[in-house]
């Protein structure tokens, strides 16, 4: 605990004339649930996309520290980032919709499988043994997320809440060291949000996975996160514990308007 795991330093990203991120710096400590909040369009998802290698920021660095090595993520391909143990979910569910829940989760094991074309074509012992080994890991995740019923269902046919859970499961199947969750509770009712929050806490506590969480529901954020970073118009305007952040005038201004800030309403 307490070791810096992800250090974002001075990251700037622009699309033409639009600055999505301007000199963003933040530090995620190992074992934390680190929330990133901010109004729509503040650059939260862009930040995750830079971290997982999907976007290349024009300036700055994102260092991912592991016990034995440090990797610069801004110069790493997305599939290499995943192989380092950085898994993510997407804001608008991006599952493999024609595949079953099981196959989706098995894809989470992709980086941990060895893929030999010859063995695959012939269905040799190693290919088969590997399928069985990884199946056991995947079954544990199915148990954890309570989706046993849907194991063989094509994900496209499942309800929204279950799909969100499957997407978390796919990320977990990677056995990540760092989990990037992009609005895992968006569009859910209170009960589903509670379930999802419980899963995130379980993963964080039982498996010791560091989580970066983008979320709009302030109650959830304040309840479960250890640290909070606030973005507005691509800039960091607040960073600290949930209490520190919710008392910060700049944050209140961004969320409630400048009048509220001067009156000291929190």
């Amino acid at each position: 605990m307490g070791v810096n795991q992800l250090v974002v330093d001075g990251v700037s990203l622009s699309f033409g004339g639009v600055d999505a991120l301007r000199d963003v710096s933040l530090t995620v400590r190992q074992g934390d649930i680190h929330a990133v909040i901010g109004p729509n369009g503040a650059g939260k998802t862009s930040l995750l996309n830079c971290t997982s290698g999907l976007y290349r920021p024009q300036a700055g660095s994102i260092a991912y520290h592991q016990a034995d090595a440090t990797t610069e993520l801004t110069r790493t391909r997305p599939d290499r980032v995943a192989a380092l143990g950085v898994a993510r979910s997407f804001q608008n569910i991006e599952l493999f919709r024609h595949l079953t829940v099981l196959d989706n989760l098995m894809l989470g094991r992709h980086t941990r499988m060895r893929h030999s074309l010859a063995a695959a074509l012939a269905w040799f012992g190693p290919a088969r043994r590997q399928e069985l080994e990884h199946r056991e890991v995947v079954e544990e995740i199915i148990d954890l997320l309570e989706i046993q019923l849907h194991r063989h269902a094509p994900v496209g046919a499942l309800s929204y809440g279950i799909q969100k859970r499957v997407e978390l499961g796919r990320a977990l199947a990677l056995e990540p060291g760092l989990l990037l969750l992009d609005e895992p509770m968006a569009g859910m009712n209170t009960e589903e949000k509670e379930d999802m929050a419980r899963f995130v806490l379980d993963v964080n506590e039982l498996k010791g996975v560091t989580c970066v969480l983008i979320e709009h529901d302030m109650d959830v954020v304040m309840d479960i996160s250890d640290r909070v970073t606030v973005l507005n118009f691509g800039q960091v305007i607040g960073d600290g514990t949930p209490d520190e952040v919710s008392g910060s005038p700049a944050v209140i201004e961004a969320y409630l308007g400048s009048e509220a800030a001067t009156e000291g309403v929190a």
Partner: protein, 347 residues
């Protein structure tokens, strides 16, 4: 996809088996018996058709791996068949290599050419990729028609029937077994591919390529691999065509052939192994039936307008499938199996 009702497994291993019910095993035995008995009872005309079906099935499996399973549309399949046919035929006629070796070489060379023409897929999707693969088709045909040192400027290569281990494959009865064996191996290989991680990665790219990349699938490697594997199948089909017909001409591998193969996998069922086989059989047997019908009705409208009727039926079949059963013959077959399994109950 969804497991059959009332079929339970006690181990993950038993779930991974291809045939888990008695009915499935009985069906396999029946199919094998039918395929073994067929050459002894069918007429020479239908023997030719059967061999064509076998070769087309190999090609259709290849295209389905690329287009159905990996989601990379290709209009270049005819071109890849040509690469296989010319490679094998030229290696026999120019270098005098044994046919078994040249067929293997054809698979490897076509896979390499396919991988090369698959490179645009790293940047292009959908319609744009269709145009890029169309370019592959045209480039390959241009090369075989216009490089005099390769094909003598006529685009044709003649090759004698092969003799393997003192056994001369010079009639359709013998070729039937060769093609059957090749098609059986191709089917097994394709089936195996989608039981493991590589096949899953292909399907992940089809469904959601960005998510596939974010979960660790190397898009470059797997897209190129899909093109290579698919073209390998085309190479085998092309090489078999060359040695069976004893002549390789570019007219056999035009754009309309690429479209015929797309029609096979649409009619058969995209991303279905058994669908590839059914689609190939369907698209070869229907014109064969029309031809037979035209011969027996000498002087009728059908026999006078056979080419036009064939085209019309070709179009009609595709339209009807797209409207009524977009998932093709494979889906109809699945429904039939379900019906029979549950009979006399509805569900």
């Amino acid at each position: 996809m969804t497991p059959a009702t009332g079929v339970f497994h006690r181990t993950y291993g038993s779930e991974l088996r291809l045939r888990t019910t008695t009915a499935a095993q009985v069906r396999l035995v029946l199919a094998v018996v039918a395929l073994v008995v067929a050459p002894f009872v069918i007429t020479p005309y239908w023997m030719t058709v059967a061999i064509q079906v076998g070769i087309a099935a190999i090609g259709a499996l290849g295209l389905n791996i690329l287009t159905g399973f990996t989601g990379q549309i290709s209009l270049g399949h005819g071109g890849f068949l040509a690469v296989g046919a010319y490679t094998s035929a030229l290696l026999v006629t120019r270098l005098g290599l044994p046919t078994g070796v040249t067929v293997l070489a054809a698979i490897v060379v076509t896979a390499a050419v396919g991988a090369l023409f698959g490179l645009p897929a790293l940047r292009l999707k959908g319609l744009y990729l269709a145009i890029a693969t169309l370019a592959a088709q045209q480039i390959i045909l241009w090369v075989v028609r216009n490089t005099t040192w390769l094909t003598g400027g006529t685009g044709s290569v003649f090759v004698d029937y092969p003799t393997i281990a003192g056994f001369r494959f010079d009639n359709d009865f013998r070729w039937y077994w060769v093609v059957l064996a090749c098609a059986a191996v191709a089917t097994m290989v394709a089936r195996n591919l989608f039981r493991v991680g590589i096949g899953r990665a292909f399907m992940a790219i089809r469904d959601q390529d960005i998510a596939a990349e974010a979960i660790g699938v190397n898009l470059t490697r797997y897209k190129v691999l899909a093109f290579a594997v698919s073209s390998g199948f085309a190479g085998l089909a092309g090489a078999l065509t060359a040695h069976w017909t004893q002549i390789v001409t570019w007219e056999r591998f035009t754009l309309s052939v690429s479209i015929l193969y797309l029609a096979m996998i649409i009619v058969g069922g995209l991303s279905s192994i058994v669908g590839s086989l059914m689609g190939a059989a369907f698209m070869i047997i229907v014109p064969a039936l029309l031809t037979q019908g035209a011969q027996s009705l000498e002087g009728s409208f059908l026999s006078r307008q056979l080419p036009a009727v064939e085209l019309f039926v070709f179009g009609l079949v595709i339209v009807l499938f797209l409207i009524f059963e977009p998932r093709g013959l494979a889906r109809m077959w699945q429904r039939t199996k379900d019906y029979l399994r549950l009979w006399p109950f509805r569900y």
